[in-house]
Amino acid sequence: MSRNIKLALAGNPNAGKTTIFNNLTGLRQHVGNYAGVTVEKKEGFLSHRGYNFTIVDLPGIYGLSASSIDEIVARNFIVEEKPDVVIDVIDASNLERNLYLAVQLMELGAPLILALNMADMAQKQGLSIDAEKLSTLLGVPIIMTVATRRVAMQDILDSAIRLIESKSVPVRTRIHYGREVDRLIDRTTEAVLKDPALSRRYPARWISIKLLEQDAEVLKRVMESPFASTILDAVEKSSEAIRGLFGDDPETIIAERRYSFISGACEEAVRRSFEQRHDISDMIDTILLNRLLGLPIFLLLIWLTFKFVFYASEPMEAAIEGFFGLLGRVVGGILPAASPLRSLIVDGVIGGVGSVLVFIPVIFLIFFAMSFLEDSGYLARAAFLMDKFMHKIGLHGRSFIPMLLGFGCSLPAIMATRTIDDERDRLTTILVIPFMSCGARLPIYVLFIGAFFPEAQAGNILFLIYLTGIFVAVIMAWILRRYLLRGPAAPFVMELPPYRIPTLRAILVHIWERGTVYLKKAGTVILAGAVIMWFLSNFPWYPNFSDNRNGEMKRMELSYAGRIGKAIMPVFHPSGIHDWRLGVGFVGGFFAKEIVVTTLGTLYAAGAGGRLRQSGCDGWKGEHNLSLRQSLRNAVRQDGTPIYTPLIAFSVMVFFLLYLPCISTVAIIRRETNSWRWPVFTILYTIAVAWVASFLIYQGGKLLGLK
């Protein structure tokens, strides 16, 4: 007979909670979301000594107040899902602050075990912890672990089983807040106990402490009680009494007393054999956060990371594309020529799967780099260095790196926003990342700049395009944060964890996690998008067009995509754009920016096919699209005036820069915001922004006498 144990892992960020989770469950994990919020829920499964364990990795938190969504999620999980055991993973080298959460978990009445992790680090710092004594003082079982070396991992499971099998209820130490405060808490508790429904869900004393701490969530619950006014009266009286007695708010007094309880316990159970004044971490920081060197080193490191990721992923992407191209040709050779079935399988399905998988190298590599930066402790420093600038536009220092990653590819950039704690900051960052010009848009600029600007100016124009993107991102972030996602700036009270050497295992698990999330959640949407795009550009089906250049051009012109392109063109006339083929390009660009140049090539019958990814375009003199450039330059309207001028070309490029992120980005926004609201919003608002920007550029340019 096997029994089930639901075990929750709680703890401060950086205490080693996730390492323990990964050690215990390996890759038997499932990543989902908590209902209704974007907080990620990680579950893992294993059996041990005849028990089936479900292990839940709760979000990393510092306390149990309702000041962040993570804290609410963790707290509700413990109260509502009633896990059989809660393991609080504690950084033993940072005992006092970590115990603050433990003390609150004790008060919540959770079936608690403390895992004092990083016991080796504590020892190195000269701390010797008497676990048995601490356990007696707190009334909670304690085990010592070293997660990075997988020490005592089985002990965690054993101790959980012991806790469940033991018949006796452990005598939990009650935290005393001093005689006066205790008396006032008791008085409030009496009022809370009047409503049995309330005290069945949460411990009554815990409710009264939370009410005195002005906890908004608990207050909301209490307001629904029929005894609300009695309870709130008691709270008000007690709060007043505490203020009168101590001259400070109850929440401050309560926190102060918890810390003094903790420091009392530590004084008895912890001996410090020597004081380590300046550890290695501090020495590294004197260089990396140096007033003069800090920023240059940061920019250099980020630049190197960027180069590494995009150069290393390039050949892998080429290989994947090559493989699917080959597969398409082989399969295409078997199937009857010029049939819709062949086209569906080769262009729709094989091409679609290829377009999902082509992102895998860049996602893996970016998350390799990101988890290296995060696990080493440098990511928090990056936020520290950039916060002043980001705060000016209403964001948090942590938004900087995801936005920067947007220059490579919006997809992993948006996935990287998980490191931003505040919900509004995170959403704002997600919504402006598409304005950072990604690598796939570069070939479009290369085409138009090459066709309409002298070579000497090419670099400047390209730079101007990128600057426009940054400028719009900054403006939109400011507007969104000020009007749509209004709210107080998230506090920057943030831990700068000691530097650590990341373990390869942790990094690999992280990459695996992100990779599977991408494939499962976004991959399906992208694949569906690929098939839809295939349908739009091939139907209605005209069997009598041959597979040569002219045939392809005609087929696309008469397809739904071609018709949409023509239909939407009048909208672009105010921006100076009069080329229906470009309309088809806009439609194609929603699928993937990579295919814009190919589509234009087909429609101009210039045969500019082939790969034109970031470094696939070989500079301004590239031969790939010389004939297409020529065609664009020669294109004329019915009255004989040229379709494109440098001004119009610039307006076109800005539109491509800002409008509609590709469908993969939309899919990942759907996944990361856990709703359809934000992806739909992104589609609409980016089109609006792009149209306004290209309109202003064209009309403004004309007024200034530019051509």
Binding site: V181, T252, L385, D387
Partner: protein, 205 residues
């Protein structure tokens, strides 16, 4: 109800204050030290302690050591704080010499109203004489006196260990001039200057 400031006789308030200071300086307060500090006979100390124990302000069980109760700590701290505040007003702001300021503060502290005290606090905050964490230069430490923020930011600070009495060392300021890095409870924390500005501190030398 417990006695509030002003309800005890001035000499008993002096005793409370002395016990608190001794407990801070030497970990324990002994009858002998109290007598020496206040310049009175040990027998007078005994009498005063008995009266304080009656009010439930001190515990004086083990023959020589004296311990403040929670109530006693709260009251003593209030008295002590107003003493410091008055000395600070007289010496630092009005420029009275240290010795006179100390003596006069002792005389005034038992008679001044809570309202006046509040005004002095407000005044000194305005004068920037009451330091905030923002004013502490890198390399220096300070003890947290009071948190003036509210809501989520206050909760976050308390979660991170910033509570009255905690000792904070300022480590550095970011290259762009904001935020700053501090050490507290043996770990490093960063916070914006606007947040540091809401933490009132007493600088430590």
């Amino acid at each position: 109800m417990s006695p509030f400031v002003g309800e005890l006789s001035s000499s008993l308030e002096d005793y409370l204050e002395a016990i608190l200071v001794l407990a801070r300086e030497k970990k324990v307060a002994r009858v002998r030290d109290i007598a020496a500090r206040l310049g009175v006979a040990m027998s007078s100390v005994d009498g005063a302690l008995r009266r304080l124990a009656d009010e439930n302000l001190v515990r004086h069980e083990r023959y020589e050591f004296v311990e403040l109760t929670d109530k006693g700590i709260a009251l003593a701290r209030k008295i002590f704080d107003r003493h410091n505040l008055l000395t600070h007003l007289l010496h630092d702001i009005l420029g009275v010499d240290a010795e006179t300021a100390e003596k006069d503060a002792c005389a005034i502290e038992h008679h001044v109203s809570q309202k006046t005290i509040q005004s002095i606090i407000d005044f000194s905050i305005q004068r920037k004489k009451y330091h905030t964490l923002k004013d502490i230069p890198p390399g220096k430490s300070a003890r947290v006196a009071r948190l003036t923020s509210h809501g989520a930011i206050l909760k976050r600070m308390l979660d991170m260990g910033i509570s009255p009495g905690a000792i904070i060392e300022v480590k550095r300021v970011a290259p762009l001039g904001d935020p700053m890095e501090v050490a507290i409870l043996g770990y490093n924390l960063s916070l914006r200057k606007s947040e540091a500005n809401s933490i009132l501190v007493e600088p430590l030398s």
